[in-house]
């Protein structure tokens, strides 16, 4: 039921406030339809160019898959978007007005970018419920946390997310005791609690059963439209199930872009994957 709700009544990737014409600097502006815009991004580590003039544009509401061999720069790209790594050169914009290269990690989280790590990163000592509580979109300054007390509607939101990620029966369990697949789902749930506009998902189905993988694909497809999603994944069956455009990274820049079939038949992509 919730899955369906997220799909409907969204004007093309645009936020209500933007349609009102309010453009405060620092607020997400998706009026041109672009959610994420990377231009000529270069990152080098000790002379090795992890990213080399990378260009990428993700539309609002789009679901994009990024594939590429190991070391192609997929994780570094996510590091740049989330402020963990500063590019040596190039531009990174979120919407029209937010310059990601000037913001810190928490600030980037606040403007609406959520990130799922390759290895599920959750708070193992906390319960599943507390994990979602901590992730929930709210004022996250110290004083507010000291005085915080969950309101009824906030509890409802957590309960709703718990159902969505199918962990409602595990709410009071210590998160460290969950199965690997459940941890992945919990991390996705934490992302959703942040109400991000853009979700970055690094190998979200690694370690999941086939059944869990397919359910994750359904969840992501249902989230597209309301959110923009960038999914890094090796599992081609999963990528196929997601549909949408596929971008192939290689040696730090874009090698090919198109739907999965086109990309898979691209001679250069085949060479990269099979080796020369």
């Amino acid at each position: 039921m919730i899955l369906e709700n997220t799909l409907d009544d969204r004007p093309e990737g645009s936020d209500g406030a933007d349609q009102m014409g309010h453009l405060v600097t620092g607020e997400l502006d998706l009026s041109h339809g672009v959610a994420l815009y990377l231009e000529d991004i270069t990152v080098s580590f000790d002379g090795f160019k992890a990213l080399n003039n990378l260009n990428l544009a993700i539309n609002a509401g789009e679901l994009r898959c990024i594939i590429g061999p190991n070391g192609a720069g997929k994780t570094t790209m996510m590091d740049v978007i989330t402020g963990k790594t500063r590019p040596d050169s190039g531009k990174a914009f979120f919407g029209q007005s937010i310059d990601l290269t000037r913001l810190t990690e928490p600030e980037i989280a606040h403007v609406g970018i959520g990130r799922k790590f390759q290895k599920p990163t959750i708070f193992e000592q906390h319960t599943v419920f507390e994990n979602l509580e901590l992730a929930m979109k709210t004022d996250k300054r110290v004083w507010k946390s000291l005085m915080a007390w969950l309101a009824g509607d906030e509890r409802d939101r957590i309960a709703e997310t718990l159902r969505l990620i199918r962990l409602d029966k595990e709410a009071d369990r210590q998160a460290g005791l969950l199965s690997h697949g459940q941890k992945q789902w919990l991390e996705i749930g934490m992302l959703l609690m942040q109400e991000p506009k853009l979700l970055l998902l690094d190998e979200p189905v690694a370690g999941m059963t086939d059944d869990e993988t397919m359910r994750t694909a359904e969840l992501f497809v249902s989230l597209a439209g309301k959110h923009s999603l960038v999914v890094v994944e090796h599992d081609m069956a999963f990528v196929e199930k997601l549909g949408g455009l596929v971008t192939v990274l290689h040696e730090g820049s874009v090698l090919a872009e198109g739907d999965l079939a086109t990309v898979q038949n691209d001679q250069r992509v085949i060479e990269v994957y099979l080796g020369r």
């Binding site: 989330t82 963990k84 810190t104 990690e105 928490p106 989280a109 606040h110 959520g114 990130r115 790590f117 990163t121 959750i122 708070f123 193992e124 000592q125 906390h126 507390e130 509580e133 901590l134 992730a135 979109k137 996250k140 300054r141 110290v142 946390s145 000291l146 005085m147 915080a148 007390w149 309101a151 009824g152 934490m190 942040q194």
Partner: protein
């Protein structure tokens, strides 16, 4: 929707803990004074001045242990320089005690003896106001807070973590110790402050003054415990342990760990400062050796022995280790440090959760045995 804060604080401890806390306060504020003043010295029920000073001193250490546990057990930040904050609070209050000596010092001068010795003619500027109890009480809180804030801000902003942070705190307290050793620094050099006569006009060694200081320490220990329980059960406490377990995730969900770490770091320093201020009049001396790196390491050992990440653990640890210490240093003074080292190794290898963890494990074993029997 908003539960009043007082109610939240009440609910941060369970019924049993409140009862234990009440019993502790009744013991410290009623039973101990009666047994100290109301019984003959040769009576079996008599509590000696020595015992009161010893327990009062250890309660101050227990406060430091709670402060250490907040930052280490809950925040995952191991400070090996907490002795500094304790000493700063002690020195701040010691200034007031030095001024209370008045003209009763060996030189009969208006300024403390060590200043006469340095050939100073008047109180230096940073001692001004130190004859006022109110001002000094403020310094006891503000000085450790300020030092902790400035140091913590730069350390946490630069994302200095783990063993690097521990080493820097160790260096910090060592540097402060060297500074306080200098006579010209103006805090009595390596002798520090001692020979106190009065506090708020009352003779400092009188049994009544002792009991008041003892009672105040017990009250502050209880208050700190309640405050700490509320703190770690608040959302702030959950964010703090989340930072300990997965800092990058905390950042990517929008919390800035800097301010969380800094808050608990400053709170921890202030608790230490107040503990130091309660310690000095009871023990009668403060000198730079309180800032020695070994002292700060010992604080970490109390917490490790008792069980970090619990609130009762550090208190137990402070009592067990220090009672052992006062016995050892009388009976086998040369073996104390060996024993301390051995204790730390044993606890680290065999009891990662400390004595509290051991107790819990034994209880679980008992419960499961009963379970299988039934």
């Amino acid at each position: 929707m908003h539960k009043p804060l007082t109610l939240r604080i009440l609910s941060s401890l369970d019924g049993k803990s409140w009862a234990a806390l009440g019993a502790f306060l009744a013991l410290a504020l009623l039973v101990v004074p009666v047994l100290n003043l109301g019984t003959a010295e040769d009576s079996a029920f008599h509590i000696s001045a020595y015992a009161i000073t010893l327990i009062g001193k250890i309660m101050c250490y227990a406060l430091v242990a709670i402060a250490m546990d907040l930052i280490w057990g809950y925040g995952g930040i191991l400070s090996l320089g907490h002795g500094l904050f304790f000493a700063l609070g002690g020195y701040a209050f010691g200034m007031y005690l030095m001024r209370q000596i008045g003209r009763d010092g060996s030189y009969g001068a208006d300024i403390p003896d060590f200043m006469v010795f340095l050939d100073w003619k008047e109180i230096p500027w940073f001692w001004s106001g130190s004859d006022s109890f109110g001002w000094v009480a403020l310094l006891v809180v503000l000085v450790p807070a300020l030092v902790a804030f400035v140091f913590g801000y730069f350390a946490f902003r630069s994302r200095i973590k783990g063993v690097y942070f521990s080493i820097i705190t160790q260096a910090l307290t060592y540097a402060a110790m060297l500074l306080f050793f200098r006579n010209e620094t103006g805090f009595g050099g390596n002798n520090g402050f001692t020979d106190f006569k009065r506090v708020l006009g009352h003779t400092i060694t009188s049994p009544e003054t002792r009991l008041v200081l003892f009672g105040l320490t017990a009250l502050f220990l209880a208050a700190t415990l309640i405050f700490a329980a509320w703190l770690v059960k608040s959302k702030f406490g959950r964010v703090l342990t989340a930072i300990r377990d997965a800092e990058s995730r905390v950042m990517f969900i929008g919390y800035n760990p800097l301010w969380y770490k800094l808050t608990i770091w400053v709170i921890s320093a202030v608790i230490c400062g107040i503990a130091g201020a309660l310690y000095v009049p009871q023990v009668g001396i403060i000198n730079p050796s309180e800032m020695s790196p070994a002292n700060s390491i010992e604080i970490a050992i109390w917490v490790a022995v008792g069980g970090r990440g619990t609130l009762i653990g550090p208190i137990i640890g402070a009592f067990v280790v220090n009672l052992a210490k006062s016995w050892f240093t009388v009976s086998f003074p040369e073996y104390w440090l060996f024993f301390l080292g051995l204790l730390f190794i044993v606890v680290t290898l065999m009891l990662p959760q400390g004595l509290v963890g051991l107790w819990k494990k034994l209880q679980e074993k008992n419960a499961s045995r009963k379970g299988t029997a039934a």
